[in-house]
C-alpha cells in the first residue's frame, strides 16, 4: 500500500465516523445521546487534524473539546434536568423543514467548493512538527491577540461564575 492509499483509507474511515455520529448528534431524541455522539464527532475531527499534519491542534482538540466542553455540556444537562417528553420532542414538521434547509445549504456550499480550485498545485509540503513554529508565531506575530485571548478567557470565567451565583443578596 502506498502512502496515498493509506491516507485515503484513513480519511474515508474518519468521514464515515463523522457522518454517522453527526446524524446521531442532530437527530437523536435524547439530548444525552446527542452529547455522547458528539464525543465521536470531535474525536474524528481531531483525527482529520492529525491527518492534515497539525499535531498540536489534534491534541488541543482532544484536550479542550473532549476534556472540557463536552464535560461542561454534560454538567449543563445534569444541572438543568431532563425535560418531560412532551416538551422535549420537536414537532416532526420543524425537523423536516430544518433538514430541508440544511440540505439546501449543503448543496449550495458544496457546489461552490467542488466548482473551484482551492490550493496551488504543489503547495503541499511534507508535514513538519508544528509545535515549535506555532509557539514562535503565538509569542511573536500574534502576541497581542494571544494576550487578548487570555484576557477574554478570564472575563468569560468571571462572567460565568457571576451569572450562576446563588441568589442571596
Amino acid at each position: 500500500m502506498t502512502a496515498e492509499s493509506i491516507q485515503a483509507v484513513v480519511f474515508y474511515a474518519l468521514g464515515a465516523v463523522i457522518v454517522i455520529s453527526c446524524g446521531i448528534v442532530v437527530f437523536a431524541r435524547d439530548i444525552v445521546h446527542s452529547v455522547f455522539a458528539l464525543f465521536f464527532t470531535l474525536l474524528a475531527v481531531a483525527g482529520l487534524f492529525a491527518l492534515l499534519g497539525a499535531d498540536f491542534l489534534a491534541v488541543t482538540q482532544v484536550v479542550v473539546y473532549v476534556g472540557g466542553i463536552l464535560v461542561l455540556l454534560l454538567f449543563g444537562i445534569l444541572l438543568t434536568g431532563r425535560m418531560p417528553l412532551v416538551l422535549g420532542l420537536t414537532t416532526q414538521r420543524t425537523y423536516w423543514l430544518a433538514t430541508l434547509a440544511g440540505a439546501v445549504v449543503f448543496a449550495i456550499v458544496l457546489a461552490i467548493v467542488t466548482g473551484n480550485e482551492w490550493a496551488p498545485p504543489g503547495g503541499q509540503t511534507e508535514p513538519q512538527p508544528t509545535v515549535e513554529a506555532l509557539g514562535k508565531l503565538l509569542l511573536g506575530r500574534y502576541l497581542f491577540p494571544f494576550e487578548f485571548a487570555s484576557l477574554t478567557l478570564l472575563a468569560a470565567l468571571i462572567g460565568a461564575a457571576y451569572l450562576v451565583r446563588r441568589d442571596d443578596r
Binding site: L73, G88, T90, L134, A149, A160
Partner: protein, 102 residues
C-alpha cells in the same frame, strides 16, 4: 478518487457545517442549539487547518487555536446563561421560555 486533496477536507467541513445549521434550527433545547454551534465552529477549524496545510502556511492553525479558545469561552458563558434560564423559567426549551415572557 484515491488521492485525497483539499476538496475532500472542504466537503467534510461543509457536511459538519450543514449538520450544525440543522441542529441550530431544529433543536428546541438550548443545549442542543449550543451543540449545533460547536459543530459549526469545528467545520470552520477543519477548513482553516486544511488551507494551512495545502498552502504551506501556519497562520491558519494559529487562527484555529483562537477559534478553539473562543469556543471554550462561549460554551462556559452560554451554559451559565442556560442555567440562569432554567432557574428563571424552569425549562431550557427556548420556544417555551420565549412564550413565558408574554
Amino acid at each position: 478518487m484515491l488521492e485525497i486533496n483539499i476538496t475532500h477536507y472542504l466537503v467534510a467541513a461543509v457536511f459538519l457545517f450543514a449538520m450544525g445549521v440543522v441542529a441550530c434550527v431544529a433543536r428546541r433545547n438550548a443545549i442542543g442549539i449550543l451543540i449545533g454551534i460547536e459543530l459549526i465552529l469545528n467545520a470552520v477549524n477543519v477548513n482553516l487547518v486544511a488551507f494551512s496545510r495545502y498552502w504551506g502556511n501556519l497562520d491558519g492553525q494559529v487562527f484555529a487555536i483562537f477559534v478553539i479558545i473562543l469556543a471554550a469561552c462561549e460554551a462556559a458563558v452560554a451554559l451559565a446563561i442556560i442555567i440562569n434560564l432554567f432557574h428563571g423559567y424552569g425549562t431550557v426549551e427556548v420556544d417555551y421560555a420565549s412564550r413565558m415572557k408574554e
